[in-house]
């Protein structure tokens, strides 16, 4: 089928004019930071997707298993997955043995293609959402990231897991099947170290994203995470957090967002006016602000407004 993407590819490959300059090959510069014994984190930029960062805005975690490394989330593109694969072999010659997707947003699972011959675990809701929305995400990611996405195809997770005790490649976890950031958000607590891979239920010094969010459910999920008293939290975006402050900050922001949008609806404001509202100091310095706040207005306001305005007939 001749899709927009293939057509653009064909057109681009036509020798219409000689190239005036050669573009350097795009490459991710990934670094694994050791956090605890046998746990590494690759910390993403706290910005929005851009041609400069190539979509490397997400945190990826690696943990030692019995037969290789367990990988939590696979990044934003095939090329990112390739870079992860190479990096992992430097840490453990056997490379990656098992993969987990915390949820179905593209920066967390678009590297799956590289690991398609290994088990890729996720919640059932995540697999379904990746099947339903993956292609639309891919269209937008190609639009935003261009050549960084070359060759990337949507590969949904293959193995559905439930909550409770879970052993992945010989390592014991508590699996917490939650939701609120999306319709299915998996958080995994490493039994050995008390490290919590929180996915995008937790953001730290980076504005939370809300395209699939249900704010009350998200707050409940944060309650559940806090109750596990993790020794170390690896948020989906932002630095690792041994204090629990990342959960508090995410909770504070989401509560403020809800009340700001409801307040706007109750004073007759429209979305453009709300988008132009200055952010409180404690949120203005977060990564990807004010863009994420403005996106949240678009995601959440129409429904909130319907709830707040009285019936007129």
């Amino acid at each position: 089928m001749l899709t927009r993407r293939t057509t653009l590819g064909l057109l681009a490959s036509l020798p219409l004019a000689p190239r005036a300059f050669a573009q350097p090959r795009l490459a991710y510069d990934l670094a694994a930071k050791p956090l605890a014994d046998g746990i590494w984190m690759i910390e993403g930029a706290t910005d929005y997707f851009s041609m400069e960062n190539g979509g490397a805005i997400v945190n990826v975690t690696l943990m030692k298993g019995d037969s290789g490394l367990i990988l939590f989330d696979t990044g934003s593109s095939r090329r990112y997955g390739d870079a992860l694969n190479t990096l992992a072999r430097g840490l453990d010659i056997r490379g990656i043995s098992t993969v987990v997707n915390t949820h179905h947003h593209p920066d967390h699972f678009f590297g799956n293609q590289v690991f398609a011959d290994r088990p890729i675990h996720a919640l059932g809701g995540t697999r379904q959402a990746a099947l339903d929305e993956g292609e639309a995400f891919a269209d937008n990611m190609y639009r935003l990231l261009g050549d960084w996405m070359r060759g990337t195809e949507v590969v949904p997770p293959s193995d559905v897991i439930a909550g409770g005790d879970l052993t992945l490649d010989g390592r014991d976890f508590l699996a917490l099947p939650l939701d609120g950031h999306t319709t299915a958000d998996l958080a995994l607590m490493d039994r050995r170290t008390g490290t919590l891979v929180a996915g995008d239920l937790v953001f730290y010094n980076r504005a939370p994203t809300t395209p699939s969010a249900d704010l009350p459910r998200w707050q409940q999920a944060l309650d559940a995470l806090q109750a596990e008293r993790p020794a170390l939290i690896i948020p989906g975006h932002g630095p690792a957090d041994p204090t629990g402050e990342s959960i508090t900050q995410t909770r504070d922001y989401l509560a403020w967002l809800d009340s700001a949008l409801r307040g706007g609806a109750r004073s007759g404001q429209d979305m453009v006016e709300l988008m132009e509202m200055p952010l409180p100091d404690r949120f203005a310095g977060m990564g990807a602000q004010p863009q994420e706040y403005q996106r949240s207005v678009a995601h959440l306001f129409p429904r909130i407004e319907r709830e707040e305005l009285p019936r007129g007939n």
Binding site: M271, V272, E273, R306, P310, G312
Partner: protein, 261 residues
Amino acid sequence: MFIRTAFAALIAVAGSAAAALDDPQTVLQDPMGSGMWNYHQKGLLGDPADIRFDDRVVVRAPDSAEDSLNVPLLVDATAIPDVKRIVVSADYGPIPHILTYYPEQAAPKLALRFKIDQATAIRASVETHSGSWHIGSTYIDAAGGGCTAPAHAYASDDWEEKLGEVHGRLWSASGRARLVVDHPMDTGLADGIPVFIIEDLSLQDEDGTPLARLELHEPVNEDPAFTFYFDAGALPASVKVMGRDNNGNRIRGVLTEGELN
């Protein structure tokens, strides 16, 4: 899709050669440089002679459309005296005309939402009672597809019961009237779904005198949402909402300063 791209390439080549034949009588320098403005100046506005781009017409919108089905826009022509109507349009899209606003007793300022089909320049063309036109512009980037997707309403089976439901309120102290009307606003471009849109919507006082009036077209968003702006204290205690869609369904509601939910 391929045909469209190839056609655009042909136009780009041919356009430079065949200038001037279809130009409007007053040719403007388009600050957006979007290539379609001359055409709309004739087709949408009727090729007026007295026309200019004017920074006093402010069009506020996000740089990029996060949700193609709900793009917010705020048009403000309060710096232009004696406004008769405001034509809001998109340069690129299957249906360029979004709506026409007749402010009547309201300020020439309106907040609305619309469906966007691709990245495009957006225009607010303001006509005064003396017949001069003043145009404001902005540009919105978009992934697209907003005009050719079926309405969300059809995902639920009770949309007919909600049809024409009005939510809204007056804020007399700040001179605002806010209004949301439940309606699928089908563009006719989604497979097998004919055009089904609200065409007329107005605010009236108790005696039926129009306070502000809208003519809506297909690109207005599903469940249209508007803020109308009046002078502080100028709004009556209650305002009637009167409207009609292209299937003859009437829209009736009353906005007051009443309690919020």
